[in-house]
Symmetry: C2
Subunit: 318 residues, 2 copies
Amino acid sequence: MDGSTPHVGAASPATAGRHALHDDPYATRDARPTRLVPRLDPVLHGARGSAEPGPLARQQLEALDRDGFLVLPALLPSRDVADLLAALAALRDGATGGAKDGVIRERGTDEVRSIFAVHRREDALGRIARDPRIAGIARQVLGAPLYVHQSRVNLKPGFVGRAFAWHSDFETWHAEDGMPRMRALSASILLGDNHAWNGPLMLVPGSHRTFVSCPEPTPARHFERSLVEQTVGIPSHDAVRALFDAAGRRIELATGPAGTVVLFDCNTLHASGSNLSPCPRSNVFLVYNALENRLRAPYAAPEPRPDFLATRDPDPIA
Amino acid sequence: MDGSTPHVGAASPATAGRHALHDDPYATRDARPTRLVPRLDPVLHGARGSAEPGPLARQQLEALDRDGFLVLPALLPSRDVADLLAALAALRDGATGGAKDGVIRERGTDEVRSIFAVHRREDALGRIARDPRIAGIARQVLGAPLYVHQSRVNLKPGFVGRAFAWHSDFETWHAEDGMPRMRALSASILLGDNHAWNGPLMLVPGSHRTFVSCPEPTPARHFERSLVEQTVGIPSHDAVRALFDAAGRRIELATGPAGTVVLFDCNTLHASGSNLSPCPRSNVFLVYNALENRLRAPYAAPEPRPDFLATRDPDPIA
């Protein structure tokens, strides 16, 4: 952390009064030492034991509840993958601008790393966000009407694709976007074969049961840096080790052929290694949030992030 | 490449005359475009079809010949691993100095990345280098009396262990150390469990059959940088892609429990990803070279590397 950067914590004038500290079970970035807090929210919101129908079988729901993630191999047929890849190529080739426009490039190169807010498009990328094969699962898990909180394509090109450090998405969405509780589900659609050797998603089973606070306050305009390489809002090595030990010293890789969909809870600890292979590892990343869990003011940031990162004007989809 | 850095190529005054270009089937770092050259040397030097006995079975020799590597799961029992780990811990804790002394640290931290020349020690690390369980295999493969060209321990600590880019060791040993031909075998002894998720060795099967030249001349005192992060002497992306495609778009991970020994030919294209996990991935790395393949003057470097990186006064061991 650069000592000269202005920081604003949870109790700063910008956010004080909106969320008093004692109201927030998931307080973070408050300059206090790391705390491991048991999750207060369910993972399956009304789906278990309820009559609500949905695409996932009971065993799949149980696995998601237990592990915090679920891999659905080749859920989408190759025709859909081809449509998504074509839309992705058109989007990438036409991409201009930088982080302010939702176009993130790999550090030190011109290669596109991520493009945000693809769910608002009219092409295959926009359609897949509303597709009942995936949104229907999210509805089943979240047990309520929902909307897309965030969406993006990650390109992770061959050779130069850099790692993502261990983190919980919810910690950032809570601190920087004002997402109140854990009632969001992420879906990553793999657009190419994901092998152990091209930087697949790595997850710590069961880690979604613990909220890990991060000590460092959020710098102003943090997202401009954090989307390239995150340094604030990532748990300490000791915290990662504790969750890893609790998982039986186990990390799972979400591998599978193109068209595989990886579902994971908003608080599951995950990371991905660098991609040294020649094979790109592109994917579409969709985050569904329950409408009743819609954003408030940030819990621990000086200002909300731009709309392309965090939807503040929800458009219900299921 | 920094244009202001002094470079000396193969035909520079420092090396011209010792190795005329037309004498060298493996010319490299000569400012010419990348060339893919078929290997001239065998992989098994007299072992196949000969009566020479050795620890490897015929099928294992064939696999090494075909793929360029061979994984021997849990070759060493846990008692040996414990002895090696104890010797490694004592060595690391007493390590002082920097690259000039054979102690390489992770960039931006104090963590030890590698310590060289462990085969000269009197402890378990020195003994394992001469142990017939491993040296006997090298003797069988190389078909001649041999010595340790290079040895080191790699610590690859959890969280901060950085990647090694794709490379052939032989390219560097030829260019910078003056190793004439491909008649060396590497053995990596895994001192902890190697999983797909803690940065294991990655290899391209069959890549040892092709020598890939590298265009950029060797900077002076290159080793001081290359051991932390190599940028000269690594093949182009196109060359890596060509070998990857020739392998059927396949990369193999050398995983296994502690005590596993990974053998690989001196020219096998390999890399390893970052280690984001909490588990260190330490190993002992031993390179055996045939005595008759001992070093000459560097083929493409202004001066030989220090003795801790490349033995010039061989001590035969098998």
